[in-house]
Amino acid sequence: MRRVVLGALALLALAAPAAAADLGGVWSIRDYREALRPEAGGDPPLTPAGKAAYDKNRAMAAKGDRSFDDVASACLPPGLPRLMLIDKPFEVIQKPKVVYFVHQENRLPRRVYLDEALPADPDPAFLGYSVGRWDGTTLTVRSSGFRAGTLLDDSGLPHSEALKLTETWRLADGGDTLEARFTIEDPQTFTRPWTAVAHYRKRPGLLIPEEVCAERLKTTAPRGRGR
């Protein structure tokens, strides 16, 4: 798997990259909300199975029970796009072949490999597998290979392993704002692809502290789901 990927990378690296914007620096979300909603308005177009799973999570949350949420209960990595939507800063490190999103949240790194094909069958991971390309000054990122069990947002919006995520990242407001659009495609959970938008403000000079999620877990039982 690794060899195949690196071989593909070597071939694709020959294509000259387009002029990129500079997304580097520390950012934090400007329009945080617990529940991700379509940019076009209304509610996410859940399938009956998706709605049943979401309703179950919401009912548990209403009773203060977050056991459906592996981030809250076991400090597992939030999936995507949730990791990009939580109310904590992250740092973008932009290099020619990789764009890194390094989060305050439990110090999680996310890598977007540029000018590389999405593997047909990536090993499942909490953060999936992300490839990107610059279209002028817009960074387009496609991800798949997600594990089931993570959530799309803090409210408990579910997804299946069939999730495919497409993100477009660009600067706005003369570089003071980072804007991202998330297009979610998961036919098991949603009746059609839908798009949400988020904005981030620049945090110049902010030093991100070492955040250790596991410090707040007090249980002595094995944590996480028995996967």
Binding site: R2, R3, L76, K95, N106, I208, E210, G224
Partner: protein, 268 residues
């Protein structure tokens, strides 16, 4: 793929097996005849990239890329199987910890709870490190348990910067050597896997220098802790250029089965 690499290492170690090998059990602490003080098997080894790998960037100031420690030492003293120069009360503490380990009830360390491994121990992790260099900052993305270090160049810690497992790292170039001074390290982890104690007065100084045409980085670690150590000491390590390796997702928290009970690790 990583599993394959690890298996290959095991095979090589058991075939070649020079100083470190299954037939040679590790010594006891400080040459003791007490078998309850036996140290954990450690080794000095190389970890070169496979033949045909992309060549390293020869620029001595460019550390970008994936690097992987050669060998792995459980106790981080000045030499293999040599104890750090601990003060007498911390020698006693180390002996207690080694005895607990050998009795199958090791004392809880940070890493067993999915906390960061702490400095300097994280630099001894036998997992790849991806170094990403940008203006004013060098970032170390450790595969193991998503440990993260940021080295701020020519930027001392803010006056009120909190203690943390990996501390605050201030770097500078001295010629072709990257010098990193790390302070503000908490005392909730050990210097090493055996259990050498450290205090919040700990300061580490790492000197990184590309050698062998950039095919590895030589690192000299100097450890200074006036509370637990009689005097500062140093050791040397090599990190190997590994363009064939892409860091993988490592989630300690997913299988955190070593949660402590009354401060003692209980493997489940």
């Amino acid at each position: 793929m990583r599993e394959f690499a690890a298996a290959a290492v095991v095979v090589l170690a058991s075939c070649a097996g020079p100083a470190w090998a299954a037939q040679q059990p590790p010594p006891n602490l400080n040459g003791s005849t007490d078998p309850t003080l036996q140290l954990t098997a450690s080794r000095v080894a190389e970890n070169w990239a496979p033949e045909g790998s992309a060549p390293p960037n020869p620029d001595p100031h460019d550390l970008n890329g994936v690097w992987w420690l050669g060998g792995y030492q459980y106790m981080l003293g000045p030499e293999l199987y040599v104890m750090p120069p601990l003060k007498p009360q911390y020698v006693k503490l180390l002996e207690e910890r080694i005895r607990k380990k050998n009795a199958g009830r090791p004392e809880t360390d940070a890493a067993t709870q999915c906390f960061p491994h702490g400095m300097p121990r994280i630099m001894e992790s036998p997992y790849p490190i991806e170094i990403v260099q940008t203006d004013g900052q060098i970032t170390f993305l450790h595969e193991v348990a998503h440990n993260l270090r940021r080295i701020y160049m020519n930027r001392p810690p803010p006056a009120d910067w909190p203690l943390s497992f990996l501390g605050y790292s201030n770097g500078r170039w001295e010629g072709d050597t990257l010098v990193v001074e790390t302070t503000r390290i908490n005392d909730r982890s050990f210097i090493d896997d055996e259990g050498s104690a450290k205090s919040t007065s700990l300061k580490t100084t790492e000197r990184f220098r590309k050698v062998d045409g950039g095919r590895r980085i030589e690192m000299t670690m100097t450890i200074d802790d006036p509370v637990t150590l009689e005097h500062p000491y140093s050791y040397k390590r090599y990190y190997y250029w590994r363009p064939d390796v892409r860091p993988m997702e490592y989630v300690c928290e997913e299988n955190n089965r070593n949660a402590p009970v009354d401060g003692v690790t209980v493997a489940k």
